[in-house]
Symmetry: none
Subunit: 221 residues, 4 copies
DNA sequence: CATGAATGAGTGTTCATTCAT
DNA sequence: AATGAATGAACACTCATTCAT
């Protein structure tokens, strides 16, 4: 993931908008950050398409004009939020260490799952908006593809280490995607439906399912 | 699924719109069906929010006025498509029979997965639109919750039969959600990213992962 | 001047806007024409940039939406008016017959000048707007270049017939431009400054100046 | 040119803006001059309405705040440029000496035309902007009327000297306007269209046309 | 003298929905 | 049963101008 969060990348070179936080004084940085937070908040309760620049501005206690001083677009704000979120999630993905076949492997997995689910919950509004606007903004689609690639690559590594593809066990590439699918969607279901009051138990079970399915050794007959 | 598919409001009792296909002559049915197909097509390439009634009408080769003769709303059209899709998917979910711990269980699973993935691919545009518009339309959210409930219940049944929750194996409710999450998202990834040229092999691996993780018996030490 | 009055000529092929009057029923044609008239009126008193779509719509007694049913743009309306005007002026330019060296030539010239000045006065608001928006709209600039070319070509023909370039008389191409310049700007000054209450006398003098300068034979020593 | 160059309003008496360059220290003068140049440059490539204060400020390498330290308005900057330009052009107009009926008259005319065309070319951006904004700013309109008046008066003098109005030759007032029209518009066409690669020859022809039409004596039958 | 930040009224444009025929 | 035309509330975005430092 490159640090460039520029717009579509064409003739925006001379755009007056400071796309990133660079080149801003203290006050400017504070305002920009207030707008980002406000954006996240409004996104959370209305979704991307229904989020009005007006709402964001009201929450951030600024003016319409100020918004466009810091972001080229409504989409540009989303992109900034998405970049933040994408970085956090890929960092998390690569933070998963080797997962052993035994109980200590399951414990490590469980801990990591807890972190992931928590991060997902925190970022869900942005993720939802991200998905919502993908068809309309190729750049968002690109970020998504990139994040998907990085995360699944990290998982593939872990799976290969654990012997995926050997002894009749499932192939690593497919497994990585399946694992990512499961974790991501489970996190989504958990946050959006009102599931599982008992988080700890749910985590236990999920960790076990995943460990058994993806990381454990051969099965007994 | 309740028979009321009308808007959330109340005064629609005497609306001229036939919510379902009932009470229409041959020509009317054909027009309505043309609109549904056009809707699905437009949804497929633009997503719900970017889909214009104008586009749908143009593809269906009708007029704006005609559209509102058959549907109360743009949302109403989506609801009709969603209902169709929801029925197909829940039917599919309940069609999964008992899954044994042995190879024949894996084979049955594999076959069912093939059907599911295929159905998902066919319905993806509608599913995407469905998700996109959920926050704005409580009725769609309700349909989603309902479908989610039915499908996960069906899976719970199969998992319980297979001994979930016993001998240190993961609990059925969580497992059902995890399984659904994995299947649904895997299908999504497969269709939206350009994954896996070799479908058959991918299916093999996926079936194996799931069988091992959710349905197989105790593990070897 | 081709009859195509389409937009910039790119991907507008499937635009929903009926760019020309074609394919409209009676009512549609009437509305479109009302908008054109209103546009001309508003342009007349405010100029292009200060003309608000809102004003045009109010004068035409229609709604905002209707405006965009018939024109893609504010610019598009201007283009339609300009096309009309451009046609009228070039037609007028080519309507000038051979101009003899004697008094009957001057009389013919005088008559034509009267027509031109009148047409110019009638079209001045559009011409002003045309000039105003040229830098911003290449298509308008193109129309202008085209009209300029046609008119000066017509004048060149007349001048060549009259012996321009012979006997130490000025060359036809430059003369044509000079003549056009003079007529056009004279018309402009006359309409925008409050000149010459005595129109007939002014016409006499102008015709004589032009006849002497451009069409008359050799000078006395 | 009256000394009031202030806005149309009245309460500007204590405005901090030095309307002219007076009362500024060296650095101030330099900044003001940088802004004027930048203004001319931006006007040249975008026209008045599309010229953004932002652009001017960027080209001048200053800030928004500074701009309003030296000019009350965007219009105020234009007025300053226009005043400069107007002075140059009227000076030029009055610099035309008597034009004799013979070849030496034509030569004098030719030289003056060269100067005028060159000055016009140099000032064209400002002239264009001037014309563009006239309807919106009465003061600019006033300056224009004034300049028009002075220039046409000067020409009238020359024409009267040369016997305009006598012997069936056109009347001086109309001729003066016609002459001004022709020169001004010719200059415009030459600069804005890409005309006449051969400037010298064009000048010859133009001078001859004008001399014949306006200054030469009686014509041969 | 200079500046970065803030402002908000104003404008073009879209699009779901309704209506007259 | 069908349709072309009309509608207008809603929204994103711009930019000249002011202000605090």
């Amino acid at each position: 993931m490159t640090p460039t969060a520029e717009s579509t990348g064409g003739a925006d070179a001379d755009a007056p908008t400071a796309v990133d936080g660079r080149g801003l004084r203290r006050q400017g940085l504070r305002t920009r950050s207030r707008l980002l937070d406000a954006g996240a908040a409004v996104l959370a309760e209305r979704g991307y398409h229904s989020a009005r620049v007006d709402d964001i501005v009201r929450v951030a206690q600024t003016s319409h004009g100020t918004f466009y001083l810091y972001f080229a677009d409504k989409e540009d704000l989303l992109r900034a939020l998405v970049a933040r979120c994408s970085e956090e999630l890929t960092a998390l993905a690569t933070s998963l260490g080797q997962v052993g076949a035994g109980p200590e492997g399951e414990a490590a997995l469980r801990e990591w799952l807890g972190l992931f689910l928590e991060a997902y919950r925190r970022n869900q509004p942005v993720i939802r908006a991200w998905a919502e606007d993908q068809p309309g903004d190729p750049e968002l689609a690109g970020l998504a593809a990139e994040a998907f690639g990085e995360v699944s690559a990290a998982l593939r590594t872990r799976l290969t280490e654990s012997g995926a593809g050997q002894d009749g066990r499932p192939k690593a590439p497919v497994s990585a995607v399946a694992l990512l699918a499961m974790v991501e969607r489970f996190a989504y279901f958990r946050t959006s439906r009102d599931l599982e009051p008992d988080d700890e138990a749910a985590l236990d079970s999920l960790a076990r399912v995943i460990h058994r399915g993806f990381f454990a050794g051969t099965l007994a007959s």
